[in-house]
């Protein structure tokens, strides 16, 4: 919890910025991509390309980091909570990946 709080605080200014200005460490993006490929892609689609029934993460509002973190951690609709499996920094890495991991 403490680390989440600090991370949230540290990121708070970034959420107010436009997506183009958000930068993430390459290692964080790599971690996020790995977690995504293993745990998220079965429903949200490989590289977010084929979301099918689950929400299209390419359209997730870039300013709503907190909602993303909450949904992943606590679950949302048919998505189960992941907070017991993923550490807060891993959920942060997922956010980084969703925002910036598949830019072409």
């Amino acid at each position: 919890m403490a680390s989440l709080g600090v991370a949230a605080l540290a990121c708070a200014p970034a959420t107010a910025q436009s997506p183009q200005l958000q930068t993430f460490a390459p290692q964080q993006l790599k971690t996020g991509a790995e977690i995504y490929a293993r745990n998220c892609s079965p429903c949200h689609g490989a590289r977010m390309l084929d979301p099918q029934g689950a929400s299209d993460l390419r359209k997730f509002p870039r300013g709503e980091r907190e909602r993303f973190i909450n949904s992943v951690t606590r679950g949302k609709n048919q998505m189960p909570p992941w907070g017991g499996l993923l550490k807060p920094e891993e959920v942060e890495a997922l956010w980084a990946y969703v925002v910036a991991g598949e830019k072409s």
């Binding site: 293993r38 745990n39 998505m79 017991g84």
Partner: protein
């Protein structure tokens, strides 16, 4: 067991009314049309009923007689069980007993499982149905338990843990009662479990045996796995569809699921007994024979679903066969006494194999398969979802034909680099992207198929959505099935022409059944979107098809 004293005989007689059905009843399921006691409407899982009150002419008078809400948004896939005027229905959240005459709920038992459980459920939070034996109703739970309820009151009698859900195990399969043993499978191959089939004491819930679908080191079959490392311990092999059973041979036939991970490079070898059928003794779990459909399966060609048992005329001789419309695109006919291959013909478009070698029983893989195994993105037919998925086919012994809802789908498929297994997490390592669909290309078919030639007697193309409901064939010359868009439909089994439909309150991906009560024929189906196809089609359907489970029962309106 003969009673001599007349008092005892009277006692026996008077107790028959309340005495729960016996093993003989289970064996004879299908002969007493008032009851549906087994998964597949008979141990042979033909999903055929000789009932003919509802036929091609009278079906126009088929109307709903009752509807019961199941108060569940997760999806309905179960096959109802009917005994002595009471229907038993399950979903992931509850078990419900219903009076079949009035549609009124008699009892309901809800289940609690941790909200995290769906993390280890690959393909829909659902349940395929109950089993009934000796006054008890049995079911499996999402968090991998097996439960027995008193059939009359719904009171829980025992609950046994099959496995730890956090390790990737879940249960959706309907149990089988065979030769006095309660038998369940397991799900979890997408999470790198080592699959098994369990035998339980129906009275106490004590585990009698466990047979792993992947042999341990030193056991026959383990040599088909890498001999260094632990690939066999995390190699998949689920069993998530109820096995069929031949009481005369005392053999049950369980289809075994895909190996893990889907990407095959970390597990060279045939990987027995994944993507196979196991013929087993219900009392002990002993495997009498096996047949592997897809050795070293690199395509998620799960072989879990129905092995339909029948007598077929093969070259002028009656043969006891087990048939499967396998996910890999071949229609297999096996001699069920010994597992010998009788026929294996392609029934859908495929490019991964050219044919099955009738000498070895192995598919002959093509350059497409080579490309997939080299981890190149490859156009792949049929896709990992198969030429047919779990939506069970029916077999009419009068026509000798299989009736099935099949899939027509290729995908751009690619193996990814495999990472170490993490207990309780996905273990697949593939990319599976849609192909552009050619104009006029169907997404699936409803079809009548000759088991030995795989020739189609007729084939109805589906242009909008696939059908993921089981088929029911009747002596009235009808087929019943349901659409994802909610229509429950009746087709002419001779032509595939649709004769009747009724719009239910949600989408259908369940298993219709038919039975009688006081001489009147009823048809029942569960409505309620959920399951794998809802995951796939939800984006296109979410604004048109609301979730919400319910039971619909139909009968003919009096003249």
């Amino acid at each position: 067991m003969k009673f001599i004293a007349s008092a005892a005989a009277v006692l026996l007689l008077s107790s028959t009314a309340v005495t729960p059905q016996t093993l003989d009843d289970l064996k004879n399921d299908g002969k007493n049309a008032d009851n549906i006691l087994t998964y597949g409407m008979g141990y042979h899982q033909q999903r055929y009923s000789p009932l003919n009150q509802i036929d091609k002419n009278t079906v126009r008078r088929l109307v709903p007689v009752w509807n019961l809400s199941l108060d569940n948004n997760w999806g309905e896939q179960a096959q109802p069980i009917v005994y002595n005027g009471v229907m038993y229905v399950t979903n992931a959240r509850a078990t419900v007993a219903i009076d079949v005459a009035s549609g009124k709920q008699i009892w309901k038992q809800t289940l609690e499982w941790p909200p995290e459980t769906p993390r280890v459920v690959c393909c829909g939070v659902s349940n395929k149905g109950a089993a009934i034996y000796n006054g008890k109703v049995y079911r499996t739970t999402l968090d991998a338990h097996v439960v027995a309820y008193d059939a009359k009151t719904g009171k829980e009698i025992w609950k046994s843990k099959a496995a730890e859900w956090k390790d990737g195990f879940s249960l959706t399969v309907a149990p089988l009662v065979a030769n006095g043993v309660l038998i369940t499978g397991i799900s979890g191959a997408e999470f790198g479990v080592r699959g098994f089939i369990d035998g339980w004491d129906p009275e106490t819930g004590k585990q009698l045996w466990r047979h792993y679908t992947i042999p341990a080191r030193g056991e026959k079959g383990n040599e088909t796995w890498p001999q260094d490392g632990n690939a066999w311990q995390i190699g998949g092999g689920s069993a998530w569809i109820t096995g069929s059973y031949d009481p005369e041979l005392d053999l049950m036939y369980w289809g075994i699921g895909n190996p893990a991970p889907w990407a095959s490079q970390s597990r060279p070898g045939d990987n027995l007994y994944t993507s196979s059928v196991l013929a087993m003794r219900p009392k002990t779990g002993e495997v009498v024979w096996y047949y592997q459909f897809t050795p070293n399966d690199a395509y998620d060609y799960d072989a879990c679903w129905e092995l339909i048992l029948a007598e077929l005329n093969v070259g002028g001789k009656p043969r006891k066969v087990a048939m499967q419309l396998n996910r890999n695109g071949f229609l297999y006919v096996l001699d069920r006494t010994n597992g010998a291959l009788i026929s294996a013909k392609a029934y859908e478009k495929m490019n991964w194999a050219s044919h099955v070698d009738m000498k070895t029983g192995r598919p002959v893989e093509t350059d497409i398969a080579k490309s997939i195994r080299e981890a190149k993105a490859t156009e792949h037919w049929p896709s990992t979802r198969g030429a047919k998925n779990w939506e069970h086919a029916a077999f009419n012994p009068q026509t000798g034909l299989l009736y099935a809802n099949t899939l027509h789908e290729g995908r751009m498929y690619k193996h990814l680099e495999t990472k170490p297994h993490v207990v309780g997490q996905r273990y697949m390592y593939i990319e599976n992207l849609p192909l552009p669909r050619a104009a006029g290309e169907p997404v699936g078919h409803i079809e009548a198929i000759d088991p030995l030639t795989a020739q189609k007697k007729w084939r109805v193309p589906l242009m909008d959505f696939q059908i993921w409901s089981a088929m029911l064939a009747t002596g009235g010359g009808l087929l019943f099935t349901g659409k994802e868009t909610g229509e429950f439909i009746a087709l002419d089994a001779d032509t595939g022409r649709q004769l009747w439909q009724f719009q239910t309150g949600s989408g259908i991906n369940a298993m219709p059944v038919t039975f009688t009560q006081n001489g009147r024929q009823y048809v029942t189906v569960l409505s309620g979107v959920g399951g794998l196809y809802w995951n796939i089609a939800r984006e296109q359907l979410k604004d048109k098809v609301p979730p919400g489970g319910s039971v619909w029962t139909f009968a003919l309106m009096p003249n």
